[in-house]
Amino acid sequence: MFEYAPAPESKDLVKFQDSYGHFIGGKFTKPSATYQTINPATEQDLAGISHGTAKDVDAAVKAARNAYEKTWSKLDGATRGKYLYRIARIIQERARELAVAETLNNGKPIKETRDVDIPLVASWFFYYAGWADKLDYAGLGPNPAAHGVAAQIVPWNFPLMMLAWKIAPALAAGNTVILKPAETTPLTALLFAEICQQAELPDGVVNIVTGFGDTGAMLVDHKDVNKVAFTGSTDVGRLIAKQIAGTNKKATLELGGKAANIVFEDAALDQAVEGIVNGIFFNQGHVCCAGSRLLVQESVQDVLLKKLKRRMETIRLGDPMDKNTDIGAINSKAQLNKIEKLVKQGVKEGGERWAPNCPMPKNGFWFAPTLITGVSPANTVAREEIFGPVLSVMTFRTPAEAVAKANNSPYGLSAGIWTEKGSRILKLADQLNAGVVWANTYNQFDPASPFGGFKESGYGREGGRHGLLSYLKGAN
């Protein structure tokens, strides 16, 4: 037997402080009203985090306003770009440290933070650094203007990557920001604050306020905020939209999804299996664009599911710090409970649950990669976003039926098509109500490519030139 010996990445690559304050006006405040942020794989405490109050939020918005008025809006694009390039380079230099920090705080495998999250974070800053002095060519006429102060709220599934998606274009366009990381995963954002200091970014251009939903709500509500950017659940997105209705605040919302991954009988089946696995089990399925509904053509259902199950048997679940781990920990107890509840409901409604036999660690929050077959379009697991490693399997007979079933969702963030027929890809991409359509691949991200959804998956785009427009006047 060829067993892989443990190959853990070193925890010593990162040193957290005992507790953190907020990062306001270029300095860390004294920690106050702290709660513990934990490692979801071990349930051990990592650091104390301050729960932001109205006073903290106000101070942060003031710092951002001040920085906007006095420094950032006065700098030319090339100088803003210089800071962004500098940040990008420091991120690359500190990549291993950031990867370890993210894995410890989020529970996702080190393989992913090392090979996906952190490289994308750096590439996002490099990409938008290049835009900073070329805004005249963004298609908005000469001298397009920034909104001013942007409030940004990011989720726990890709903590640093979502920060990069928000902060890089905002700064390139000339805004200053207050970012609130998710309550369970604030640590890489706080390390990023250190990076801003290291890059000698002018004080107040980036502010980080930690805390829970109430802190975020106060931030969105603050009268001196010009722009709100949020990534997270559709429920919270709705609240934000209501909150800012009737104000001058602009918003981009990147919300939930229930993507269909459609496999036709003429697909390259072995690679389709890989795409399905990558689509739903990447990052424990904590991905808004996860391919959580598999739509497989009836004629290849048996062979595909056989291959998929065999592939799932080889998925390695366990210590996220081990370099050979494919599936790490669920980010929180609350999320684990939600996944369990939805899966039980799906089985009750007629779905058949299957998971490979994989041993689970004792501590921490874990959920085995799971298939639910025999799912009807009415089943809860076919409709609601589970945000976990759970794949609902449905079948179709014709391309028209595939499109009808794929579009039968309040969401419209992403979709996947698997076929060797190029013409079918083009036709379906037109018919699917999804912001992103991947063909013969899945979960590919690139800073040059816009990302965002239809319907209840939100509005506005992040990435590419489109992502820049969300932070410039006259574009939304």
Partner: protein, 321 residues
């Protein structure tokens, strides 16, 4: 062992048209996806005890090869002695699976290896180009078998394959398989070299794999080592998928041999990871997986010494072959 019924598998009489239909009905291969999968498996981190296990397994799967125009009896003898005692300083080092030579060197290899379990493999059928008449190819094979070869590494006619003459390739493999029979009814193990570098597309490689398995190959092998693109990880991954799926369908287990260009322990370990995660543990044996290599052995020996002593010995502490 179950006997294969080609007509039952193809679902019709074996004609060129039917073979063509059958091969073209196989699912396609997506190049980007396949290569991404191979790259992802390459990032597996194999350390300590698993590394030690893998290094020993790699040695025991090796077909230690010399296929030069300049080969002599002495050169082959020295390679055989190396196979018998790969590391004179550490007698726990496993022996490679086989010595792989040209047909005329078989008798020298057999002589040098004596009663050891190391097999002698001979390349045949006008290796490496395969450009000779069928009669010559069969004679080449029989000659090696009569000289005592335990295994025959044949090449397919890539020209025939690429021009759609699948039946011709099929018949060639069948005829060579027959030529592998010995007087006592046993037969030399047949490895079929697809020369994947010349087939170029992954779809072709999957089809050629199936065609070879249908015609009775015991092993499918990537390359001769004589063209510019030899064994690659994605190609080997694809061929492992083919033998895995073939086993599901027929219950006949076929081996895979990547050859050419695998020079370092690190590379060899990547291949073993692919074997484990694609085909499964059933293939992690010299009976079903081989490396066709020459310089790989010394690198594995150095790594092995490093693991046991804690430091690198250097090139002067492993024998040149």
């Amino acid at each position: 062992m179950p006997i294969i019924d080609p007509e039952a598998i193809v679902g019709s009489r074996i004609t060129n048209q039917n073979l063509s239909r059958w091969l073209h009905s196989l699912p396609g291969v997506d190049k980007v996806g396949l290569e991404a999968r191979a790259a992802a498996l390459s990032t597996r981190s194999i350390k300590t005890t698993s590394k030690a296990w893998a290094l020993d397994m790699a040695i025991s799967m090796m077909d230690l090869t010399t296929l030069e125009g300049a080969d002599t009896k002495e050169r082959v003898r020295s390679l055989c002695l190396k196979a018998l005692t790969p590391d004179p300083d550490d007698l726990t080092t496993p022996q490679p699976a086989a010595i792989c030579v040209y047909g005329d060197m078989v008798k020298h290899a057999k002589e040098a290896l004596g009663k050891s379990k190391i097999q002698v493999a001979a390349v045949a059928t006008a290796f490496p180009s395969g450009r000779a008449s069928l009669a010559v190819k069969l004679l080449d094979t029989k000659d090696a078998v009569n000289a005592g070869a335990d295994e025959i590494d044949m090449v397919i006619d890539r020209g025939a394959f690429l021009s759609g003459q699948y039946l011709e390739v099929y018949k060639l493999i069948q005829a060579v398989k027959k030529a592998c029979e010995r007087k006592d009814g046993s037969h030399a193990h047949l490895k079929v070299i697809l020369e994947t570098g010349e087939l170029e597309t992954y779809d072709n490689i999957r089809r050629a794999s199936y065609l070879a398995m249908l015609a009775g190959a015991d092993f499918i092998k990537t390359s001769t080592g004589k063209v510019s693109v030899n064994a690659t990880l994605p190609t080997t991954l694809l061929m492992l998928e083919a033998v895995r799926d073939w086993y599901d369908e027929t219950k006949i287990q076929i081996g895979v041999k990547p050859a050419g260009g695998i020079r370092t322990s690190k590379d060899a370990i990547k291949y073993l990871v692919v074997v484990k995660e694609i085909a499964g543990e059933k293939w992690l044996t010299p009976k079903y997986f081989r490396f066709g290599a020459s310089s790989l052995l010394n690198d594995v020996l150095m790594q092995r010494q490093k693991l046991s002593t804690g430091h690198y010995s250097g090139r002067d502490y492993v024998s040149v072959d």
